[in-house]
Symmetry: C2
Subunit: 94 residues, 2 copies
């Protein structure tokens, strides 16, 4: 494998796998206060477009990496949305 391919594979592994500890953290603690709703909305949309780009250009590595990231980013986003909805409900309740 050429050196550039090794560096690229390492880069893809690290950026994709990095969302796993964050997803585990929000699932475990249910704490999303410091997490940006705008970031995860944009990021989840962006990764979905990367997946579509992979399908359109028939690049399996792009499809797989982004499918994994979409799942992890969606977990974080949905926990954040849940927190935002809950805080709105409790605010309107008071």
């Amino acid at each position: 494998m050429p050196l550039a391919e090794i560096v690229g594979s390492l880069a893809a592994f690290l950026t994709t796998a990095s969302f796993l500890p964050q997803a585990i953290k929000v699932l475990r603690t249910r704490e999303t206060g410091a997490i940006s709703l705008v970031m995860y909305s944009m990021f989840t949309a962006g990764v979905t477009f990367w997946g579509i780009y992979g399908v359109m250009t028939m690049q399996w590595s792009i499809i797989i990496a982004n499918a994994v990231t979409v799942v992890l980013a969606s977990i974080i986003l949905s926990m954040k949305v849940r927190e935002v909805m809950t805080s709105r409900t409790s605010r309107s309740g008071n």
Copy 2:
């Protein structure tokens, strides 16, 4: 511009720009409790490797997008490290 290139550019813009609202949020609130240190350590390393991959394969779009992301991810990571260091100091102080 072919449709796949438009989708790819939109994907690159969204995933890169998404870190801006998160960086602004942590700089403004100084709150990083819910942010995963492991995630941003892996992610910043991964994006650095993407930049190196871009240099090795001479792809300017990869170099530029990842240079921007490295800066934004480093801001978030350094604010998180600061919080971890501060909480360690105050714990040992008590």
